[in-house]
């Protein structure tokens, strides 16, 4: 009897060891670096000129401890919606498994009908959006776009291939700065819960688009003001928010009521001010514990613009009841340490839709 128990114990130990070894040997996908810098005039810079094609480079390796057959590598890219990555990007990759490791092979958009096998019924885009959102960015006008390799690959046990992925895309016409996101995975894993086979990285630098249209939209830093959706016209419902939490010492948050003071500028050059302090302009506190106040308007109606005119921009401020406290762009610039000699310069929102 004792012999039997001893034997069972020994077998248990052996099985446990095999299981642990199996777990250790399972293998991993690594994303070693992401590079968002571009070369302009021989210099490496974290910006691109509007309308140019920028190249973003991902480097990583795979440590494979079991055979994987017919695998497609997957890469996800988080970028501002205005870049229209799904239409404009060309994605290629190199890897050591190829006959010619220096040859750039192509990647394509993953069709919506091809779901990740462990994504719980979500598409790749839904899974990435729910899992990582817009990363460290403060505006949500961004999107994940997901590609996979056109070729499928067999990786044998103990193979450790390196890979490089190139995302080349038009950075659009809008001036902006944003933190870009990168994600790698493969179809055999299909967005499983663990982190061994999928990795995500956000750019260390805030990538900027310069020499384009409009004021710079800053996805990277919190500001006193926020507008949603960023691409809007006068027949949208547009939400303007005052974010008092960025500076808890600001006097306006303590004042109680926050009002929206604004002027619409039309294509005819007319200006339509709204400056009453009433229910129409009172901003609503988002929650009892929040320092964010917002107002959602239908601009054409709110400013009473004539039917044959189009609003091209809105200048606005946040004020208290008697306007003894006004928060303007000048205050925002001062808070972020940017030079602004103009006093009470209004926040500015341009009505654009591209």
């Amino acid at each position: 009897m004792r012999k039997l128990i001893k034997m069972i114990r020994q077998k248990k130990a052996i099985y446990t060891m095999i299981l642990l070894l199996g777990l250790i040997m399972f293998g991993c996908v690594y994303l070693d670096s992401v590079k968002v810098t571009q070369i302009y005039d021989g210099e490496e810079v974290a910006w691109a000129k509007a309308g140019d094609i920028a190249t973003f480079t991902l480097q990583g390796h795979i440590e494979c401890h079991e055979d994987h057959n017919g695998v497609k590598f997957v890469v996800g890219f988080l970028a501002p919606k205005s870049w229209k990555v799904s239409q404009n990007a060309k994605v290629t990759y190199k890897n050591d498994l190829a006959e010619d490791p220096d040859q750039e092979k192509t990647m394509s958009l993953i069709p919506e009908t091809s779901l990740p096998k462990n994504g719980g019924g979500r598409t790749w885009v839904e899974a990435l959006t729910q899992e990582y959102g817009v990363g460290p960015n403060v505006l949500d006008d961004m999107e994940w776009v997901v590609f996979w390799t056109d070729d499928s690959w067999d990786i044998v046990n103990n193979a450790n291939p390196n890979y490089t992925i190139y995302i080349r895309t038009d950075v659009g016409e809008q001036n902006l700065k944003a933190t870009l996101g990168f994600f790698v995975n493969h179809t055999d894993d299909g967005f499983s819960n663990g982190g061994d086979h999928k990795k995500v990285k956000f750019s260390d630098e805030c990538f900027e688009v310069i020499d384009g249209k409009g004021l710079t939209i800053d996805y990277c830093n919190d500001h006193y003001n926020k507008v949603q959706p960023l691409a809007s016209l006068q027949d949208d419902f547009v939400t303007f928010s005052f974010n008092g939490a960025i500076n808890l010492e600001n006097a306006l948050s303590k004042a109680g009521d926050v009002f929206f003071k604004a002027i619409a500028v039309t294509d005819a050059g007319n200006r339509y001010p709204v400056n009453d302090k009433s229910a129409k302009t009172r901003m609503t506190k988002e929650s009892a514990f929040s320092d964010t106040y917002s107002i959602t308007i239908w601009p054409a109606d709110f400013f009473g613009v004539s039917e044959n005119e189009q609003i091209v921009a809105v200048e606005y401020w946040f004020t208290n009841q008697n306007e003894s406290i006004v928060i303007s762009k000048s205050d925002d610039d001062a808070l972020l340490g940017e030079e602004n000699l103009e006093e009470m310069e209004p926040f500015y929102f341009e009505f654009l839709c591209e």
Binding site: P229, T239, S294, W298
Partner: protein, 151 residues
Amino acid sequence: MLHKITKLIFILFTLTLLGACDKFSATESDVFEETDKDLSGVWKLEKVTRNGIDITGLMDFTQFSLDLNKDGTYVVENYLPFVVKDDGKWQVDDPLYPFHLIFKTEGSNQDEVSVEIEYMIVNGKRSLSIDLSPGCFSNVYTYVFNRTDHP
């Protein structure tokens, strides 16, 4: 003797089964016929989403109504950005299975405006859902209406 009883039971059982089958033959009352869907009524906004996010509580959407009259005319009351602005005539693409609502503005030379609809039953009430982009094309709003004059 036992063999005969078994045989008799088997025959009786088979007859019972055959009889049972006969009782469940199709009758006229079992034939299901789809009826026309009547979308007429006063429709008020119950929910509005912007790019998938619920914004119903951010503005007063309660005053807007779409009156689809039985005589084929419609009236937009307290206009908010919508697929049509002025009153006119309406119809559905298919009364049995309506997937599109078609508006023709009164006295205008404009073509008809056809919008995709979802005509569903939610909590026992008919509900009408329309996707639209009245402003920038990249912003998609979903207007969910409830019929206020009858269920």
